[in-house]
Amino acid sequence: MTVQIKPILSALRRHKAGTFLIAMQIALTLAIVCNALFIIQQRLAHLSEPTGLDEPNIFVVQNEWVGQATAEQVDAKMREDISVLRALPGVQDATPSNSYPLRGGGWDDGIKLKPEQLQDTSGAAIYFGDDHFIDTLGIKLVAGRNFRSEEITSMNVRDRLSPPVVIVTKALANKLFPSGDAVGKTIYLVGGPTTIIGVVELLQSQSVDRWAAGFAYRSVIVPKRLAISLGGWYIVRARPGQLDAAMRAAPKALFEHNPRRVINDEDGILSFSQVRSRAYERDRGMAILMGVICVVLLAITAAGIVGLTSFWVGQRRKQIGVRRALGATRQDILHYFMTENFLISCGGVVVGTLLAVAINLWLVTRFEMHRLSLVYVLAGVVILLLLGQGAVLAPAMRASRVPPVEATRSV
């Protein structure tokens, strides 16, 4: 069965305004839906990046000391705290650190292969940790060895960072030594030379913001406790299934041991799932927002097509009756309206594709977004063509049920 396109086009020419409005609506919807889908995909990809940690069992304590103290005093207090935490029944291990993945900020440093080099070979996130750091975080050592307890020293926040040995992540090791023999090599931190003694599989850096994207998984663990009179973080790994109990027990035990501290009620103690949801709050929110906008937008466009086509059908009842009286089948009428919508939609998606790319290019220059991949445009085109056909179905069915006798009635 063939559908005559020419009569449809000549009919459309008599409804320029309606045709133009539907096509324009489809074009604009396509442009926005493509870009929204693309934003959703970017955000979701971002927030599903792994940290490398045993997240379900980990929580972090932000401990702030009251008053000022010397680095030695702070270090002593910190070591006591860590032994208090390790002694708790629900706790598997604990370590003091300057930061943790997804915290949003911390210490980062430039790494060089030679001391006289002007440009850094790579940026890297610096994690302070003791010999329990790797076990506490649940990250995997893939080469070399862990720190020995006698290698761990204390450091004042204003001291020079020049540890004799470090452990690095595989991502950093591969960047610095692509041939894969990083263990035993010397690298240069800002504070001086150091030797790589171990490589861990995965440890995300402290921020997932754009500024830190250049060294996302390039981390260095230094065998030091950072003594800041302000306080710092304790990373605690609970025994499986005992996270909640350990999170309740930890602050109680710490306050019993030494009340001259502040652990914020709101965010002093966070499970790692809370850390994760905080870090990706905006990404998740943007994805939800764009999703809602897409759905409502498609619904409104569909409703608009239904409304306008219904109007057309109502206007053309007489013509439809004449066609039916002259021998057109119900099928013919149905196909007529479906094809008509398809032609308009095609016009709309062509303009919409151009518009989608234009909007994306503008977003790229204005907001440092990525280039739109054609898959999203294609997905948008298919969605809108299907949407158009779906929306036109009900009015077209109604049109096909117009009886031939309508031709004989006036209006």
């Binding site: 929110g285 939800i288 608009g304 306008l308 109007f311």
Partner: protein
């Protein structure tokens, strides 16, 4: 007449309830999406100190040189070294000026049963209170003399005064910070500029209001660490003393320059200062300085989150589509009544009257859309916390101006959308319509 048209309009709206509902919902959704995202945009792009935003300036001095600044489009660091801040304070080339940093202090309540706690606290100079127009509930700021003598004085915020002194006049009483007593000289009234322009580098623009102010000079003397960022391009050496003499940047700086001439003079002074540092051998590059006022600084620091801008753009696009949709539906609705229009025209109604009648009908739809939009905006504003962190979400509120704006945008947009359908309706030829009947 107006009442009659409105009555006609409402009757016609009742005739096709589905079509009407569709238009009202489309306009409601479009307006609500735009207004919700606009509420966030408005809060984050707010001018926090409109009366003075063109008189307060942030100077920047390039103490790291082209090696570092080339990664940052040639811009100097966002913060200042202790060396430069102290030199600028000493030279005193602005009407008022201050260096500042967030100090890490904990408050030890006199009541031993209360646990120590932290509040947002800053170390700055006496000038800052006047510069930033900080209102006082009791007492006042400290004096320049107390800056010089590194006095142990403090100004506390209203909320902290409620907490510690039940809101009474606490001037002259002591407050224990980090185990040391400070004499309270003033209690600041509610002062909560949004965004917190005075320290964008450490807060990204949104933070709790300051509750403790202490003299910068005293804070540095006591080696009070910063709770903000510290950026170094080279190894700062060992200990506090080497650190504050290093090229690490960690201080904010503000200068009040009431006239353009003063601002220009200050620019020259900054360049002169940099040139002097170059001659002294500290900088091995030509002067590279900036002087930005509040609005320019907030813009440069990108305080408005990218998400707020993108979602506003997308929502405006959404509203546009809703309007195109409304144009189509109104066209369908109006043209369906061609015969009615024909009769009215034949009975003597002018085109003008047709215009007015249909535009009023559209305005009624717009009003209904505005009401729906208002409800949805209310929901949307509550949902803002899904997208933005609490510091920003709490700023997005449905206030009187937003309510009015929502209804106004809905009505205006609908009337605008109705122009073309109304024009088409007014073109209806009475004779033709009457004949075909």
């Amino acid at each position: 007449m107006f009442a009659y048209y409105l009555q006609l309009g409402l009757r016609s709206l009742r005739k096709n309830p589905l079509l009407t509902l569709l238009m009202v919902l489309a306009i409601g959704c479009g307006v609500a999406a735009s207004m919700t995202t606009y509420s966030v945009f408005r809060a984050t792009s707010n001018n926090p100190i409109p009366q003075k935003s063109s008189q307060l300036y942030v100077p920047q001095i390039d103490n790291w040189g082209p090696d570092s600044s080339k990664d940052n489009k040639g811009e100097p660091p966002n913060a200042m070294t202790y060396t430069d801040a102290v030199n600028l304070m000493r030279d005193k080339r602005a009407k008022r000026q201050t260096a500042l940093y967030p100090t890490a202090v904990s408050i030890v309540p006199a009541d031993a049963s209360m646990l120590p706690f932290r509040e947002t606290s800053y170390g700055w100079y006496a000038d800052a209170f006047g510069m930033f127009d900080i209102p006082f509930q009791y007492g006042q700021g400290w004096t320049a003399g107390e800056d010089e003598s590194h006095a142990s004085v403090a100004v506390i915020g209203k909320a902290l005064n409620e907490k510690l002194f039940n809101g009474g006049n606490s001037v002259g009483k002591n407050i224990n910070l980090n185990g040391r007593d400070y004499r309270i000289v003033g209690v600041a009234d509610k002062w909560n500029p949004e965004p917190v322009f005075y320290d964008v580098t450490n807060t990204n623009g949104f933070d709790d209001p300051i509750q403790v102010f202490i003299p910068f000079t005293r804070a540095v003397e006591l080696k009070t660490p910063t709770s903000g960022n510290n950026n170094c391009n080279h190894d700062p050496g060992k200990g506090w003393d080497e650190w504050i003499r290093s090229e690490c940047v960690w201080l904010g700086f503000w200068a009040e320059l009431p006239t353009k001439a003063e601002a220009d003079a200050y620019r020259q002074y900054l360049n002169g200062y940099s040139a002097e540092q170059q001659r002294a051998g500290r900088f091995r590059w030509a002067p590279n300085t900036r002087l930005r006022n509040v609005v320019e600084w907030l813009d440069y620091q990108k305080v408005v989150p990218q998400e707020a801008k993108v979602s506003l753009m997308v929502s405006l696009g959404f509203l546009l589509i809703c309007l195109v949709n409304t144009v189509g539906l109104l066209l369908a609705k109006f043209m369906r009544r061609s015969s009615e229009i024909g009769v009215r025209r034949a009975l003597g109604a002018t085109r003008r009257e047709i215009y007015i009648q249909f535009l009023i009908e559209a305005a009624a739809i717009g009003l209904a859309g505005g009401v729906v939009g208002l409800l949805l905006t209310g929901l949307g504003v509550m949902g803002v916390s899904l997208v933005f962190e609490p510091d920003i979400a709490k700023l997005a509120t449905l206030d009187v101006s937003l309510v009015l704006l929502t209804v106004l945008v809905a009505i205006l947009a609908t009337v605008l959308a109705a122009f073309y359908p109304t024009w088409r309706a007014a073109q209806v030829q009475p004779a033709w319509q009457l004949k075909s009947n």
